[in-house]
Structure formats: structure tokens, C-alpha cells
């Protein structure tokens, strides 16, 4: 019982409930309005119709009296009163004392004043083998010399009709009320249930389960849209969390080694007899080691920054062709010194939205890799096609076996033959992060022989 109470209490406090209540109030007021209007229209209509009939009848009989005198009137009234014509018309002509002379009403209604105007009274009506008391509505005409003409109509049918309408409207109102309450409750509950689903998911996510998602109904209504957006947000958060975890794992793993090497080198220089030359050599080596560490550290931070997508100026329009040419110009002397041919195949004016510094660094890293590990003929090309901007760096070196192409994009991954050359295995990771930050793609392919790295972005 207390559980039910608390459930009701909770329901009452929800926005859905308030919405349903408001909906219901508006609904009830309008239904009530419609019902009252229907009742008023139909009852009033019947009453006015009766009154009009009576007025016309009186006017007609008065005319007859004017033309044919009292005896004529009595004849007509007697004729009209004879038999049941089914229209419920009642007539009565009395002398000045109220004694009936003709008509189908037994006598002057008891206690009713003799005054012109509408008159409501009760009349006993003979139906088959019994009599009933029926309500009647009449009009009185006082003929000169005090004779009275009463024309009336049995309004039991009208009264019955009114009662029926009243009952029907009452039932209709009750039915509408139930429908309103029911509809409100269903609406409230279904809203509440959808919101509850979102709440439960959020609670589970807060509880540490980042893989939870809000269930979809497949109706693509606004709740599904909300759920989709929330799920996308959760995907993004999960990706970022995974990125952070990976970075800290990498740092723990790959920075510890050079740090301990640095420490060992400094410690060694303190061992044995002090030798100024050897010591300064050791310090210089330690500084070099520290510089390399810093480079690695900066590269990691750069990648993390690009991956988390916090760089908001990744949205300024820039010319990818110009970025490519500038990077090529920076590396051209290096290529020449290494005896590589650096070929440029760049279509002018390829506008994309992006971060100039990060894209420059990505292109520089690709050229650096191509010259360092590939060699031979290195080609940098940039083209625009079907709304896509593509930048490609290819070399004619040994290439990367198909199975390992995905792996080299990860941090600190260096393939066997290249381990001896200087480098930290972060170059391609940054390129991938930059591509992702720009909603682009990175693809490693075969250049027969050599490696082709292709970046694709949406062109402006």
C-alpha cells in the first residue's frame, strides 16, 4: 500500500501528469460547453415551436369567432376536439363562470387565474383504458362577454424528449470524462515510460557502465531522436575515454623506458673517478635524451588534442593545395639530399575547412615518413573530385604488408625494419587523429611498389 501511494505521489509530481491534467481540464470544459449548448438549443426549440403553434391556433379561432360568432366557434372547437388526432392539441370553451361548453379538456384547470398569456397546467388524458395526468402548455383568449377560449398542447412528449436529452447528455458527458481521464493517464504513462528509459540509462552510465545505450523504438519520433542524440553523445564520450586510457597506457609504457635510460645515464656519470670531460659528455647526452622525451611527449599531447576534438578553430577555410605545396617546399631539400625525387601533383585551389597548423603537420609527417622509410620516388598529390578533397603521399619503398597497415596507425607501433631509424612511432597516429578531427578518412594502400597514404576531406 505505501508503495502504491509513493508511486502515485511520484506520478503526480511528473511533468507528464501535469500535462495530462491540463489536457483533461481543457477537454472537460469544452465537452461541458458543447453539451450545455446542445441541451439549451433543443429544449428551447421545442418550447418555442409549441408556443408558435398555440399562437397560430388562437389567431385562427379568433378569426372564426369574428366571422361566425360563438356558435361557429363552438362547432369548430367541438370538431377539432373530436377523436384523437395525435397532435396533442387540447381545446376548451367555457362560459364566463368557467363552465365548459365545448372541447376535450374536462374543465377549467383548477386554481389557474383567468389572465391572457401563457398558461402551464396539468390535464388528465384518456389513453386507451386508463387516464394519465400530463403537463400541458396553453394560451387563453377571452372572448367579449367573458367567454374563455383555452387552446393548449399536451407537452408530455416534449418533457419526455427533454428528459431523454438530459439523460443522453449526462451519459455522454460521463463517457467523455472517462475517455479524458483514461487518455490523459495513457498519455502521461507513455511519456513517463520513455523518460524513465532515458533516466535508467543515464543512471547506469553514471554507475560506470559506459556501453549502456538508450533503447530505440524505431518510430523516429522526437523521443527516438532524443535517444539517438544521447546515444551519439555517449559514443563520443566512450571514444574519448578510451583515448584517454590509451594515452595513459602509452605514456606509462613508452615514456618509462627512456626515462629510466636517462636516469641510468646520469647515475653512471657519478660513478667512478670524477672526469670533467666524461661528465659533461654524459650531461649532454642526458639533455639530448630529455629533448627526445619532450618531443615524444609533445607528439602525444598533440595527438590527444586532435583526437579529443577540442580544437575549435578546425573550422577556418583554407587551401589544402597551398598547405601541401608549403610542406613539399619544406621537405624538398631533404629529399634532394637523400637522393629522392619529390614530385608534386597539386591541383590549385582546393578549399576545405580545417586547422592549418595541424594539417601542415600531418602532411609534413607523411612526407617525413615517405622519405625516411620509403624513398625512391615520392609523390605528393592533391585533387578535388565530387566534393571531396584528396591528398596522397606515395613512395616507391618497401611498402607495408596489407595485414599491418591498420596497426601502424596506432601509437608507438614501428615495424621491424624501421626500428633502428630514429623516430617515435607517433607520426601516423597524429595523421589519423588530424584526419578524424576534420571528419576525414585515412587509407593506406599499395603503390606497387611502395606505400600510398590517402587522406580525404569534404571540400568546400
Amino acid at each position: 500500500m505505501p508503495r502504491l501511494l509513493s508511486q502515485i505521489h511520484r506520478l503526480v509530481r511528473t511533468h507528464a501528469f501535469r500535462l495530462a491534467t491540463l489536457y483533461f481540464a481543457v477537454f472537460a470544459v469544452s465537452v461541458l460547453g458543447v453539451l450545455v449548448f446542445i441541451y439549451w438549443m433543443s429544449a428551447d426549440f421545442v418550447e418555442r415551436q409549441t408556443q408558435a403553434t398555440l399562437d397560430a391556433e388562437i389567431a385562427g379561432l379568433a378569426e372564426q369567432y369574428d366571422q361566425r360568432g360563438l356558435s361557429g366557434l363552438l362547432q369548430i372547437v367541438a370538431a377539432r376536439s373530436a377523436g384523437d388526432r395525435g397532435d396533442g392539441m387540447l381545446y376548451l370553451v367555457t362560459n364566463p363562470d368557467g363552465h365548459p361548453l365545448a372541447g376535450n379538456i374536462a374543465g377549467w384547470p383548477e386554481g389557474k387565474p383567468v389572465a391572457p398569456g401563457p398558461l402551464s397546467f396539468r390535464v388528465s388524458v384518456k389513453i386507451k383504458d386508463h387516464t394519465e395526468i400530463h403537463p400541458a402548455q396553453g394560451a387563453l383568449l377571452v372572448i367579449p362577454q367573458g367567454y374563455r377560449l383555452l387552446v393548449a398542447r399536451d407537452i408530455s412528449d416534449a418533457a419526455l424528449f427533454r428528459e431523454r436529452v438530459k439523460a443522453a447528455l449526462l451519459w455522454a458527458g460521463l463517457l467523455a470524462l472517462c475517455a479524458g481521464i483514461g487518455g490523459g493517464a495513457v498519455m502521461g504513462r507513455s511519456l513517463l515510460r520513455r523518460v524513465e528509459e532515458v533516466n535508467r540509462t543515464a543512471e547506469r552510465v553514471m554507475g560506470g557502465n559506459l556501453s549502456e545505450r538508450v533503447p530505440l523504438r524505431g518510430t523516429s519520433d522526437e523521443f527516438d531522436q532524443l535517444a539517438t542524440n544521447l546515444n551519439n553523445m555517449l559514443d563520443q564520450i566512450e571514444r574519448l575515454m578510451a583515448g584517454i586510457r590509451e594515452v595513459s597506457d602509452n605514456i606509462a609504457h613508452d615514456l618509462r623506458t627512456p626515462l629510466s635510460r636517462l636516469r641510468a645515464r646520469l647515475e653512471l656519470s657519478l660513478l667512478g673517478a670524477p672526469d670533467a670531460a666524461a661528465q659533461s659528455e654524459a650531461v649532454r647526452a642526458a639533455i639530448d635524451e630529455a629533448d627526445r622525451l619532450l618531443t615524444t611527449f609533445n607528439a602525444l599531447l598533440n595527438i590527444a588534442e586532435a583526437e579529443s576534438g577540442t580544437r575549435r578553430n578546425a573550422a577556418e577555410p583554407l587551401d589544402l593545395a597551398q598547405t601541401a605545396r608549403a610542406a613539399a617546399e619544406l621537405y624538398e631539400p631533404v629529399a634532394e639530399e637523400q637522393g629522392c625525387a619529390l614530385k608534386l601533383d597539386v591541383e590549385p585551389g582546393i578549399m576545405i575547412r580545417g586547422d592549418r597548423h595541424l594539417l601542415s603537420q600531418a602532411v609534413a609527417n607523411l612526407l617525413d615518413n615517405a622519405l625516411k622509410y620509403g624513398g625512391g620516388e615520392v609523390t605528393l598529390s592533391a585533387h578535388q573530385h565530387d566534393g571531396r578533397a584528396a591528398l596522397e603521399v606515395s613512395d616507391s619503398g618497401p611498402g607495408i604488408p596489407e595485414g599491418e597497415r591498420e596497426a601502424v596507425l596506432d601509437r608507438f607501433v614501428r615495424l621491424e625494419p624501421s626500428r633502428s631509424t630514429p623516430g617515435n612511432g607517433l607520426g601516423l597516429s597524429l595523421v589519423r587523429a588530424v584526419a578524424r578531427l576534420h571528419n576525414g578518412t585515412i587509407q593506406l594502400g599499395d603503390n606497387h611498389p611502395g606505400l600510398t597514404v590517402r587522406l580525404e576531406f569534404a571540400a568546400l
Binding site: R312, L330, P333, L371
Partner: protein, 225 residues
């Protein structure tokens, strides 16, 4: 030359004061933003070296207040915040240069020297001259003695920067930033190759070399050894 170092980390500050004093500068030090602003407001310094995160008053706020008071002492911001956005923020706040921690001391000295020169001689020149090497900014031509030297546009910019800082050390990072406008470290020493190409063109065949490599620091263009 009088320098102000505003840095709250004792060890870094001591290292800066010691190193800069050895280079012949008079160095004042403050470990607090407000005190730093007070000292800097005197306007008696030739350059200010400023940490970003300071107690009392943030380094950028300090710079803002200083610039608002129309004190234009050249300032170098030292910071552990190294992203391009952070640099841009620092330079917008009124900093003249931005150096990310940790840094090589030679890099710092080279940058301070460049700042001091910028503060002094802002005279518009059309010709730069070092010994018998002459660079004409208008015709964009270079001559050594009577020999005309053909340079590619980037080599011209490189030489111009070196000549504007003639007699002083410029680091590889400074060259990358000022000549190429790149704010990252290329893994290969691309700058060395560019400089050696330039050296081929301006020094080859001449008795006295002008473009010198300074070990562990960078390069220097000067008349004597």
C-alpha cells in the same frame, strides 16, 4: 640591459636569474603577479619574461593591465600550456613572443635578444648589410661583393630573417616559426638542410664564411668568427 623575470616556481626562477646574469643582464625577479605588475609599471625594464600561471594575478591579466597602461616593454611569455590556441591567446593578450616549457636556455636567450632588438631599432630600412653581403628588400636581390646571388623566395626570407638578427643566435624553432610559420617540430632536421643550402649560395667560394652554426643552439650570421 635590465630584465624582469616574473615566475613563481623558485627553481625555474633561480635558473633564469643565474643564466641571464651570466649572459650579462641585470635581472630582477618577482614570484607574484601583482608585485610583478607593480615592478613592470615602472617602465624601467628592457624586457619582461613572464610565466602564465602566477599567484595573485594571472600572467595574461598582468600583460593586459600593462598594455592598458600603455607600457610597451617587450614581453616573452613562458608557459607549460603549449597548444596553438594557447599561443594565440598569449600573443593576443599583448605578449611579443611565446615559449613553451620546458625550453632550452639557448632558445630563451636567442628570443630575448631578438625581442630587445625589435624594441630598439624599428627604423624602416630597404637594405640589409652584413660585411660584404647585401640584401635589397625593394628589388628583392642579394649581392655579395659584386657577385649577384640568386635565391629562391623562401631562401630570401630565410636570409632576411638571419640578417635582421645578424650577430645573434637564432634557433631552429625561431626559423620555423618566423620563416615558415610552422609551430611544430618536424621529426627530421629539415631546417638544417635549408640553412646548408643557403650557406652554399652565400658562402661558397668566398674567403670568409658568414653563416655559422652554433652548437646546441642554432645559427648565427655574422662578419667575424
Amino acid at each position: 640591459m635590465k630584465l624582469l623575470v616574473v615566475e613563481d616556481d623558485r627553481e625555474t626562477a633561480a635558473y633564469l636569474v643565474k643564466g641571464l646574469s651570466e649572459k650579462g643582464y641585470t635581472v630582477d625577479r618577482s614570484g607574484d603577479g601583482r608585485e610583478g605588475l607593480y615592478l613592470a609599471s615602472s617602465g624601467s625594464y628592457d624586457a619582461i619574461i613572464l610565466d602564465r600561471m602566477l599567484p595573485g594575478m594571472d600572467g595574461l591579466a598582468l600583460l593586459g593591465a600593462l598594455r592598458a597602461a600603455e607600457i610597451g616593454t617587450p614581453s616573452l611569455i613562458l608557459s607549460a600550456l603549449g597548444s596553438v590556441d594557447d599561443r594565440v591567446k598569449g600573443l593576443r593578450a599583448g605578449g611579443d613572443d611565446y615559449l613553451v616549457k620546458p625550453f632550452a636556455f639557448s632558445e630563451l636567450v636567442a628570443r630575448i635578444e631578438a625581442l630587445l632588438r625589435r624594441g630598439g631599432a624599428a627604423v624602416a630600412t630597404t637594405k640589409l648589410r652584413v660585411a660584404d653581403l647585401e640584401l635589397d628588400l625593394l628589388t628583392r636581390s642579394v649581392k655579395r661583393g659584386e657577385t649577384v646571388i640568386d635565391l629562391l623566395p623562401r631562401e630570401f626570407q630565410l636570409l632576411e630573417y638571419l640578417m635582421r638578427n645578424a650577430g645573434h643566435v637564432v634557433t631552429r624553432t625561431m626559423l620555423l616559426e618566423h620563416v615558415w610559420d610552422y609551430h611544430f617540430d618536424p621529426q627530421t632536421n629539415v631546417i638544417d638542410v635549408h640553412v646548408s643550402r643557403l650557406r652554399q649560395k652565400i658562402d661558397r667560394g668566398f674567403e670568409r664564411p658568414l653563416l655559422h652554426t652554433v652548437r646546441g643552439a642554432g645559427y648565427s650570421l655574422r662578419a667575424s668568427d
